[in-house]
């Protein structure tokens, strides 16, 4: 968080929050130990992952199709993988440490080529 935090006499009374939807700016993705990797080639667009994701981290385009994962908010709980019905699963968890420095494309190859 780069912005300057408010002082005690500047915060809103009662810890109320006036700007709706501000949880978008709270990036819970930093809590993650494991991350899901998505394979668009086998994904059947059933939207189970979208329904079950507790962090609304399944990205969907204007046509209602899943297009990826919001890693700023995904806490890595793994529910998406658990629920994915395709065989083989179109989502897999890998360790964050393993994902470090790699592009999504590289990770996909690594996880789904086996």
């Amino acid at each position: 968080m780069a912005e300057k935090l408010l002082k005690w006499d500047e915060v809103l009374i009662g810890a109320a929050i006036k700007d709706p939807g501000n949880s978008k700016s709270y990036e819970t993705g930093s809590w993650r130990v494991e991350r899901p990797v998505w394979n668009p080639d086998t994904c059947i667009q059933c939207m189970f992952c979208w329904v079950y994701c507790p962090d609304s981290s399944i990205l969907v385009d204007e046509n209602g199709k899943m297009v990826g994962i919001d890693y700023d908010h995904c806490k890595g709980c793994g529910i998406c993988v658990e629920q994915c019905p395709s065989k083989p699963k179109s989502l897999q968890m890998i360790l964050e440490a393993q994902a470090k420095g790699k592009t999504e494309e590289e990770l996909r190859k690594e996880v789904f080529s086996k």
């Binding site: 968080m1 935090l5 002082k7 005690w8 009374i13 009662g14 109320a16 929050i17």
Partner: protein, 396 residues
């Protein structure tokens, strides 16, 4: 103009609620405060008030309902005692942290065990750190007056903090006294309309209440909350004056009874102050300079004002209607002794626990306290810093 009535302290509180006519009252019965919601229910059934009475299944739920309704933007009240108050404890912090000006009548009572339904201050003293404004009443008149003022204090824009007006269980809650009830319209005018700050029901300006604050926010919010509580001190004084102008009974932060030149001073809160005043009067008749400082505002504690008021004293006894529970003295004792540390007086200070679980405190017991204070001044020695009044067997 007001009229004289002969009613109990609980009825005084219920009539204050009827005249305040809040939007919501959440109620769960517990002795000795049960007659308050009972009377309120009757008033509503009779069409004398149009408050939404929410009957809940516990005091925890009562306070939760109050918080929800207050966050929605309603003017909210409730009443409780003892273990019910203790069951609210978690929610009391949430009400004050969310800065919701809920007002509660507390018929103060002993906490179990052993089970006891009678008066003492275990409940309110147990909740003294919950961030609520605490007013303590001496009699039914004050229970009525304090509840009405509490609305105006709690809802002040600089305060926005919940407030409770306590009065001793049974001694006040169930005793019939003559007191003055003001006109409904005059009370209504005195408290004015309530304008909530951030009502949840205002869909034009969506608001989040009760969000979490991580370590980089919590501290700032708690200090902002503390400021609101501390602001209540000036507001209590201001509202006390306004109340005096409107109804002829003025209130301050504390009451000084023959205190100006007093050598021997008792500090106490609640119904025992009535007894103490009688004893002070008879001692004064005999030329003994006795005085009383009656605590009215306990939270926020006006330590400077109270310390200033005690400067003439040559010896001070502080009466706590609660066990010191392993501390050096009762809560009042600790506050006052601490307040005096920064002042020139080095008058000896002693502490008594009295009236636990409804134990009688009679003029002879108060007299014995003044006797002890006299002896301390004469001999310059404190034999017992802590003692009990009307306990079977000597303490210590």
């Amino acid at each position: 103009m007001g009229k004289k009535v002969a009613l109990t302290g609980n009825e005084a509180a219920a009539h204050a609620m009827r005249q305040i006519n809040p939007d919501v009252i959440a109620a769960f019965p517990i002795t000795p405060s049960t007659p308050i919601p009972q009377a309120v229910a009757q008033f509503i059934a009779d069409g004398e008030m149009d408050t939404e009475l929410v009957t809940v299944e516990s005091e925890h739920s009562a306070m939760s309902a109050c918080i929800g309704a207050a966050a929605a933007g309603a003017r909210v009240m409730t009443a409780t005692s003892a273990n019910g108050y203790a069951l609210m404890w978690e929610m009391l912090y949430i009400a004050s942290g969310m800065r919701l000006p809920i007002v509660m009548a507390v018929a103060a009572r002993a906490l179990s065990a052993p089970l006891n339904i009678h008066g003492d201050h275990s409940d309110i003293m147990g909740g003294r750190d919950t961030g609520w404004i605490q007013l303590i009443s001496e009699n039914s008149q004050e229970a009525y007056d304090n509840l009405i003022q509490a609305i105006k204090i709690a809802e002040n824009k600089d305060v926005m903090t919940p407030a409770l007006a306590a009065f001793d269980g049974f001694n006040i809650s169930h005793a019939i006294e003559i007191w003055e009830m003001e006109d409904d319209a005059a009370v209504k005018e005195f408290i004015g309309d309530y304008e909530p700050l951030f009502p949840l029901l205002n869909t034009d300006e969506p608001i989040t209440h009760g969000a979490w604050a991580p370590p980089d926010w919590y501290f700032e919010h708690k200090m902002s909350q503390l400021k609101g509580l501390l602001n209540a001190k000036d507001v209590v004084e201001k509202v006390g004056k306004e109340f005096g102008e409107a109804f002829g009974r003025e209130y301050g932060l504390y009451e000084a009874y023959k205190l100006d030149d007093a050598d021997f001073v008792i500090v106490a809160a609640g119904s025992v102050c009535g007894t103490t005043k009688d004893v002070v009067d008879s001692l004064r008749d005999n030329g003994i300079k006795a005085g009383l400082l009656k605590i009215r505002l306990f939270r926020p504690f006006p330590f400077k004002e109270i310390a200033d008021a005690l400067q003439s004293a040559k010896a001070i006894a502080i009466l706590d209607r609660v066990s010191p529970a392993g501390a050096q003295g009762g809560p009042l004792f600790s506050e006052i002794r601490s307040a005096l540390y920064d002042t020139p007086t080095r008058a000896p200070i002693i502490n008594y626990t009295y009236g636990l679980g409804g134990r009688d405190t009679q003029p002879k017991h108060i007299n014995s306290v003044y006797e002890t204070l006299k002896k301390i001044v004469e001999t310059g020695k404190v034999e017992k810093q802590f003692d009990c009044l009307n306990l079977r067997g000597a303490w210590g």
